[in-house]
């Protein structure tokens, strides 16, 4: 019975480990390669059309005067509403489900419901936003209607990610806090939330990246403009967002507009990178491995 373990077997396992490591590296390289190809194409097309004026100008029918300012500001203002609304709603929902809800049918129903919402295509949220915010709540085709539609759209992603993050906080440190006479909410606020911030932020960034980069269709339905010459000055302003401007440029027959669109995409990616940088910073600042 002693030492049924022989060396050649270990060698085989170690080799297998090496092979798989190679496969894993290959996989991640493939993903990076796809990203690199995409970026290369965009950069090579768009860089030449990028300038300060491009950032400052409103949409225009002439390539040299066209700019993304309206979309840029629209997207930024929209994020200023969507991010807090969806993060507060999403994290709250996750907290309710993980910390307060008792395991009953209603809880399970909310859970299934949230996951199901994540799968509903953005265009359907557009239809909802139109019915609910634009008409029923009489907001009209305004920034707030668009932003709230977006908030609902990204909500489920934030909920699911936050739940995972909250769940992974070890129960020992929760117990420690509760044993100090901390109330449930104090424990959540001071211990659970800080410990789960990295996960929550990751989820929120993924979700908001989606909100900022994607989904021209639902916003077209809730009335984001194709061309506009003002930037929002209130919740009830008309607005446009970057993806819509970019999409309308790509639809032009003249090839050069594709390059303008690429320049727009570069701006969008730059913003995305800034958001990710903030996320990374937060994550590194707070990340603890237990």
């Amino acid at each position: 019975m002693t030492q049924q373990i022989n060396i050649s077997q270990i060698k085989g396992r170690v080799t297998r480990n090496k092979i798989y490591k190679g496969i894993f590296i290959l996989a991640i390289s493939l993903a990076m390669l796809a990203l690199a190809t995409l970026l290369y194409r965009i950069l090579s097309q768009g860089l030449g059309y990028l300038s300060i004026d491009f950032l400052k100008n409103y949409p225009a029918p002439y390539i040299e005067e066209a700019g993304i300012f309206a979309g840029l500001m629209g997207s930024v203002f929209m994020m200023c509403i969507t991010a807090p609304v969806s993060i507060i709603l999403g994290v709250s929902t996750a907290l309710y489900l993980e910390e307060y809800a008792t395991q009953n049918r209603f809880t399970r129903f909310i859970q299934v419901n949230v996951q199901n919402l994540a799968g509903i295509p953005s265009i359907v949220f557009g239809l909802l936003g139109l019915t609910l915010f634009v008409y029923l709540l009489a907001m009209g085709y305004t920034l707030i209607a668009g932003a709230l539609t977006m908030s609902l759209l990204v909500l489920p992603v934030i909920v699911v990610a936050s739940q995972e993050a909250i769940r992974s906080v070890p129960k020992e440190i929760r117990e420690a806090s509760i044993a100090m006479g901390a109330t449930k909410w104090q424990t959540i606020w001071r211990i659970v939330l800080p410990a789960s911030i990295p996960g929550i932020i990751t989820g929120a960034i993924l979700a908001l990246s989606r909100a900022i980069g994607e989904t021209a269709p639902p916003l077209i339905i809730v009335g984001a403009a194709a061309a506009i010459y003002t930037i929002p000055d209130s919740f009830l302003s008309k607005y446009t967002v970057m993806p819509i401007q970019i999409y309308s440029w790509t639809a032009r027959p003249q090839e050069e507009w594709q390059f303008v669109a690429a320049a727009g995409i570069i701006v969008l990616l730059a913003i995305l990178l800034c958001m990710n940088a903030v996320a990374v910073w937060i994550r590194n600042k707070f990340q603890k491995r237990y």
Binding site: E172, A176, S177, A179, M180, G181, R190, A195, K288, Y290
Partner: protein, 253 residues
């Protein structure tokens, strides 16, 4: 408020789901003394301890019957606020469980959640508590470092300091020195004896010498039952129950 006993436990039973873990416990914990709970692994020591500050309620499958009075009030009564109970009944756990925060924040946590905000007061409490846990000298220069960078023993002493910071009436300790070296253990034992002047201490330990050294009363548990509970001297010199004797003399199991 002036009852002789801090806790009196009356015919207490506890189940994890369908498995009964505590059987008919009757026990009165005297004020300002050190009560040790000993017994073999799995006999229910931790379970009993966690019941006293109702931490056991964080496990949803737990059911109980019987009464536990803290200062003459049944702790299971509706009007008894569990947070208040836990302010008076502090706890130190078996596995070190510092928060993923700085050493300072770990110790200041208790006072902070109870509304103490002044920086200088907090500073003082932190220092005092860390000294009390015999770790001040080791960490005083790195109070802002994360507590996770410390060794196991250091972490546990941070946890003890954290508990001392809210100056509870009763301190429950679940094998608090099992991760400590003898010197720190000695310091903690001395500290416990010191604290006895003002506080009631209930300590679970697998170390009979420790129980004998520091406690006034000792409870011996076996398979969820309280076999014997009396003065430490008596338990160790002249146990009434055969099982206690066997356990103490190591003839057991």
């Amino acid at each position: 408020m002036t009852a002789a006993n801090v806790f009196s436990i009356e015919d207490f039973n506890l189940w994890y789901g369908n498995d009964q873990a505590l059987y008919h416990i009757n026990m009165a914990v005297p004020r300002k003394e050190i009560t040790a709970v000993i017994g073999p692994s799995g006999c229910g020591k931790s379970t009993l301890l966690k019941t006293l500050n109702r931490m056991i309620e964080t496990i949803p499958i737990v059911n109980t019957s019987g009464i536990i009075k803290y200062n003459d009030n049944n702790i299971f009564e509706k009007k008894q606020m569990v947070e208040e109970l836990r302010t008076h009944v502090g706890m130190v756990f078996q596995k070190p469980n510092p928060f993923p925060k700085s050493i300072y924040e770990n110790v200041a946590y208790g006072p902070k959640i109870h509304g103490i905000k002044k920086k200088n007061v907090l500073d003082e409490i932190v220092e005092k508590s860390l000294r009390g846990a015999a770790i001040w000298d080791e960490v005083k220069d790195r109070l802002n470092q994360n507590a996770y960078g410390l060794s196991g023993g250091q972490q546990q002493r941070i946890c003890i300091a954290r508990c001392l910071a809210i100056e509870p009436d009763v301190i429950l300790m679940d094998e608090p020195t099992s991760a400590l070296d003898p010197i720190s253990t000695l310091k903690i034992e001395e500290l416990i004896k010191e604290l006895k002047k003002d506080y009631t201490i209930i300590i679970v330990t697998h170390n009979m010498q420790q129980a004998a050294r520091i406690s006034d009363k000792t409870a011996f548990m076996l398979n969820g039952e309280l076999v014997e509970f009396s003065d430490t001297d008596q338990i160790f010199s002249n146990p009434k129950d055969k099982r206690t004797e066997d356990y103490i003399t190591g003839r057991f199991g």
